[in-house]
């Protein structure tokens, strides 16, 4: 419950950023460089005199959006791949080898390589973050399909000669929803982290677009002098990822009957 409230606060503050903080996240005023956190600059100011509080709130919009979009895309393509692999043997052989290969590439490396080749933009960053997540979803859904197709109700559907795609969509897919929702929340958390890592490594959004990643990245140079430049966006980032992960755990406990069964034992 606590986690839900916290996440609500973070999302709300990101949506209402312009109302909460009147300061322009981009306005540069050399007069106010490296101000300590105070009533004027709630989270202090950076090396260009920009208001960190405003940058963190506005950064939330970008970071949350990137995280959400990446997780949605990864869930969609992963589910598609998992359904196909789970139902057609030939596709399974090819697709799963490709997924194994993708999983062997460390995800940060893959994302960094994609963004640096295509150039940083909302689309390229979302794609770069979502590609390494696809194999995980595909494996999960494939395993679910392989289990579910042994269920009596699926046999019943087959015996009534309902077309295969209809069985998949109407009878198998709904059974995959619960684990998918849990996986989605973990992906959302890890996508927000990935965006921050990309920004931190200097291959994220250009600095005119504040995101938690590049606000932290820009704070690096002044870290010893003005630790608040990293501290506050870092805290926001950590709290968001933490609450999403906790919600994921709760969802898993609620939705996964195997785990709740072992709890009850």
């Amino acid at each position: 419950m606590m986690a839900l409230v916290m996440l609500g606060l973070v999302i709300g503050s990101a949506i209402l950023a312009s109302w909460i903080s009147s300061a322009d996240p981009l306005s540069i005023s050399p007069r106010f460089r490296y101000r300590l956190p105070s009533s004027e600059f709630l989270f202090g100011s950076d090396q260009f005199g920009r208001d960190i509080f405003s940058r963190v709130l506005h950064g939330g919009q970008i970071s949350l959006m990137v995280g959400f979009l990446s997780a949605v895309l990864a869930a969609f393509f992963g589910t598609l791949a998992g359904l196909l692999a789970g139902s057609f043997r030939l596709i399974d052989q090819i697709l799963m080898r490709v997924m194994d290969g993708l999983m062997a590439i460390p995800n940060v490396l893959l994302a960094v390589a994609i963004v640096s080749l295509v150039g940083p933009s909302l689309v390229s960053i979302v794609v770069a973050i979502c590609i390494p997540e696809i194999p995980r979803v595909a494996r999960l859904i494939r395993a679910m399909v392989l289990t579910l197709r042994e269920e009596p109700y699926v046999f019943a559907a087959v015996s009534m000669s309902i077309p295969r795609w209809k069985i998949l969509l109407r009878h198998v897919l709904p059974g995959c929803v619960a684990p998918l929702v849990v996986q989605f929340s973990y992906m959302f958390a890890s996508a927000i982290l990935s965006e921050a890592v990309l920004g931190f490594l200097g291959v994220g959004f250009p600095s005119e677009i504040p995101s938690w990643g590049n606000v932290i990245a820009e704070g690096r140079t002044a870290f010893q002098r003005a630790p608040w430049c990293i501290l506050f966006p870092g805290i926001f980032l950590s709290i968001t990822v933490l609450t999403v992960n906790i919600l994921g755990d709760r969802l898993r406990d609620l939705l996964d009957p195997r785990i709740s069964a072992s709890r009850a034992r």
């Binding site: 460390p106 893959l110 960094v112 390589a113 640096s116 080749l117 992960n245």
Partner: protein, 313 residues
Amino acid sequence: MARLIFTRLLAAIPVMLVVATFVFLLLRLSPGDPAIVIAGEHASQQQIESVRMALGLDQSLVVQYVLWMSQMASGDFGNSVLSRQPVLSLIADRLEPTLVLATVTIILTVLLAVPMGAIAAWNRDGWRDRVVMTFAVIGFSVPSFVIGYTLVLLLAINAKLLPVQGYVSPFADPWGSLRHVILPAITLSIVFMALISRVTRASILEILGEDFIRTARAKGGHEKRILWKHALPNAAVSIVTVIGLGIATLISGVVVTESVFNIPGLGRLTIDAIQGRDYPVVQGLILVFSFVYVLINLTIDIIYLIVDPRIRY
């Protein structure tokens, strides 16, 4: 047995083929002319042409692919665009810091996370369990650079206990090397420890429900002995598997951690190569990292085959 090991070895080949194909396609399918991408936007026409020739980008995609695959198979990863040195020797030069960091991290993780997970499972739903699980969730959520900078701020800058950044070879100065590697290793190990302690807890909980544990209890076996002598060794298979799979997380973490602590290892090489648009080096690094990952997991699988007669793939 020999046949099983052989099949396992064969199964690793398609994975590496997919990785190599993907790395090949990454540059070729990206929008824009790959020669311009590599030479840089401000390169002259002549420079672009020379890059095109050097990388064989003027030939058809199929010819390029065959050429690429045969080069990879013979271990020829090409030359760096920036320094003109062979990619593999560049990688070899930067290997030591990364190996030292990764080794210390893995040792630290196993020494701490496995007992943590075991104690959490043994004390299920008790306060120790809560502490460990809270740590695990936080470890997953706080990005490693935030952990790294916080540690630097507290232990290196304020308390002046440890150096802020840099790397010293253990062969030159073992003590200095340890002092330099300890903060990066803690930073890198937090997420890894979160993963391992969670898995250790889960697999020990599963084993504690098995019949032979009940038998051991019925015999009047001491609880501690049951945990460490009966449950943990049987949980080891899943724990070691996750350590192997976690190598991918570790490699991603190395890139970030080396960047925070300014360690001249493979992670820094990656970032330098990306920022310098040195694609042959980037490609080589992706291939080497993936190869290491596949190799470690292959080794773990094969050791299982030999050690645990129940496992058949």
